[in-house]
Symmetry: none
Subunit: 418 residues, 2 copies
């Protein structure tokens, strides 16, 4: 069996009218890439059942068991009149909409929670908890509408998921990946991954991948996904020891830059060691704290933050000396040190991250360009360390990279100490 030809489809008239930006497709393609599937194209369609039907038919038409097609579609599963996915797929697969019990129960529970009678909005709401009779459900653990997995014709598989990114992401990971892997892999594959911080995909490929024989021979496959501040490298092979060897080789080359899933590992280490953490942030504006509290249960180790966006707050609340700000500027090693040291006292934390930089597009100077950032890490009983980085990205990406990197820097210091 050949690997599937993959098309990622987003539906929504707000997308084709340019009122909303489709971010699902590139997220999905990136994840699929990490799993070893390349996407041939994206298609964005309005909420027009005729067009959607026509395109799905076309895309499925060339498929066979030997040359399968995988269509991953988002959107059109909601309760409103312009949600057509269920209807179109029922038509294409000659099936009927059937209520999905689990989703129906969730919907009913939600109405109860909101103190509304379930009968009130029943008719329109029920639309979104049905799936085609001959499809497999993709449960929605975040929202209401379930997704589904249908075979349009032999070898042509269609996954339909909600357009709401937060619902889609969880459904993709929890429900769809296992189905995709079951469908398109004849032999059992073993895979493992690691993060490499501050690394680019192309450099990694040039420096490392091209010299690895096992990857040239096709004994193992690799995938790399660019994330914010790091790349996620995956190796996959039927041979478990080969995957482990590749992971080992990567670690030998990149050493301290490698971590597992930092957003799992770091909290785990903090909990185990009963350490508390806080941040003093300037240019990231609370983003590092936000990321640290994304996780349920983070109150176990995360105490709090001060976002000292203005210099007045750096001075008056955080206690950075006026002379320091005047002599070195708010974006300096000296300020980062005082932010971390004073922050530790202010918050009463064992570990304190400080961040001060220039997110841009304004605020740069000839000596301190937009993209300059100082990240301080204070660990109780140790001298504060500051790392200066130059990350010439657009404002949004810059802030995401800086926040994630600050967690990496703290984690990397900590794991050497404990």
């Amino acid at each position: 069996m050949n690997p599937p030809r993959v098309t990622v489809i987003s539906t929504g008239s707000e997308l084709t009218a340019g009122r909303s930006q489709d971010t699902n497709s590139s997220w999905i393609a990136n994840e699929l890439f990490g799993l070893g599937y390349s996407t041939e194209k994206f298609l964005v369609l309005p909420d027009d059942p005729k067009l959607i039907r026509e395109e799905l038919k076309n895309l499925a038409s060339g498929a066979s068991k030997e040359n399968p097609v995988l269509l991953v579609m988002t959107g059109g599963l909601g309760p409103t009149e312009d949600d057509y996915t269920l209807e179109v797929v029922c038509e294409l697969t000659s099936s009927q909409p059937v209520l999905n019990d689990k989703a129906h129960d969730r919907l009913q529970a939600l109405y109860r929670l909101r103190g509304k009678g379930f009968q009130e909005a029943l008719t329109t709401a029920l639309r979104q908890v049905s799936i085609p009779s001959n499809s497999t459900v993709l449960n929605n653990s975040v929202g209401i509408a379930p997704g589904f997995w249908s075979e349009l014709q032999p070898g042509a598989y269609l996954a339909c998921m909600p357009g709401v990114p937060s619902e889609m992401v969880v459904m993709f990971k929890e429900e769809l990946i296992p189905l995709v892997q079951k469908q398109f892999q004849s032999e059992e594959l073993y895979s493992d991954f690691l993060f490499i911080w501050g690394m680019s995909e192309s450099l990694f490929q040039q420096e490392f991948i091209i010299d690895i024989d096992a990857l040239k021979d096709g004994k193992a496959v690799w995938g790399v996904a660019a994330k914010k501040g790091f790349i996620r490298v995956t190796y996959q092979s039927p041979d478990k020891s080969l995957v482990q060897e590749l992971i080992q080789k990567t670690k030998e080359k990149y050493r301290g830059l490698c971590t597992g899933d930092l957003f799992e590992e770091f909290p785990k280490l903090l909990s185990e060691r009963k350490l508390t953490l806080g941040t003093i942030e300037s240019c990231t504006g609370g983003l590092a704290a936000k990321i640290l509290t994304d996780r349920a249960g983070s109150s176990e180790y995360f105490l709090g933050s001060v976002v000292s966006y203005s210099n007045l707050i750096k001075e008056n609340l955080v206690g950075v000396k006026k002379e320091t700000l005047e002599a070195h500027g708010a974006v300096s090693e000296e300020t980062a040190i005082e932010m971390a040291d004073n922050g530790a006292r202010l918050l009463g934390t064992d570990l304190t991250i400080s961040i001060t930089g220039i997110a841009g597009p304004g605020g740069g100077t000839p000596t301190k360009k937009v993209g300059t950032v100082f990240i301080g890490t204070h660990i109780k009983g140790e001298p504060t360390e500051v790392k200066e980085l130059f990350l010439p990205f657009k404002r949004e990406l810059f802030r995401e990279v800086v926040a994630a990197t600050s967690l990496y820097l703290m984690y990397n210091r900590l794991r050497k100490l404990v």
Copy 2:
């Protein structure tokens, strides 16, 4: 002649691998929409000449003078080996690449400016200043590579533009629009939108849309997109006064729940009135501050935040009374008031938002369920107001909705006062 069936195409393997986000398509569709052309679909393709040729052929195949097709494509016009647009279009239109004099001169001037000999990179560089012999040039006044306008077959028009957004945007406005308008007569469409806070798509449709005759008649069209904490409602019609009437009717029904784009309007109001803003956050963990600082230039009005995630920080740093925390709990109206009042003093802000709630999944009690949140708004010289909300969403969505809603609540109070 019928209006053209429009497809917007982006090429680039970095797009289909999910490494880059295609923002050109939605920008183009939005502009076309404003000019009265609706886009039927977006297509994103890798740098694969065979695929690009195949798709262009397919898209052109149904066209005739009576039923024209407009294809607007970006990307693939650069000097590197994976830029195939010129080659593919030459093949499809049986033409040859010819140097475009104006672009050639610009390229030569650029080399001079950079102090490089023009011969150095000549061969690869020249690739990007050629266009197909039987096409019309679209001049590039920002970068090097010109675009072009070709007729693939009678009634099938293809515009090729660079993928670099800054170059594409200017070329689209200055060069492409006149050609498109000359080729297709369009009726000008007028559109406007508003946000409705705390509203769902389906409820809005049931409560409002189904009773509006103009929308049933098709004299105007509407669209609604569910966002975090609000819906975005758009109306469109050739009749400007009808759109205005619909916006007015919506405002009459939903009154204070309606805003324009809050993320534009609120900062604008703060700047105009020279007011400063800060947040004291618990369950949102810095997300409200993060959203407020997403915007470049936010330091003009945003001073800073305290994320008092633990009760210790609520008490010791923010100064919430121990008795308050003990008697009413951290998630209470009383705590929200002290957070806002003390926060205003601590941060020295004119406007102070406080947020305390239970994001879950843990931490709920029979009397205070997961999803409960108190949002305080302190405006200098006014008594602090607290709004209790119950938002039974998953952690991530809960935090996004709470943070956005806190900005709405502050904005809505403020606009009534000033």
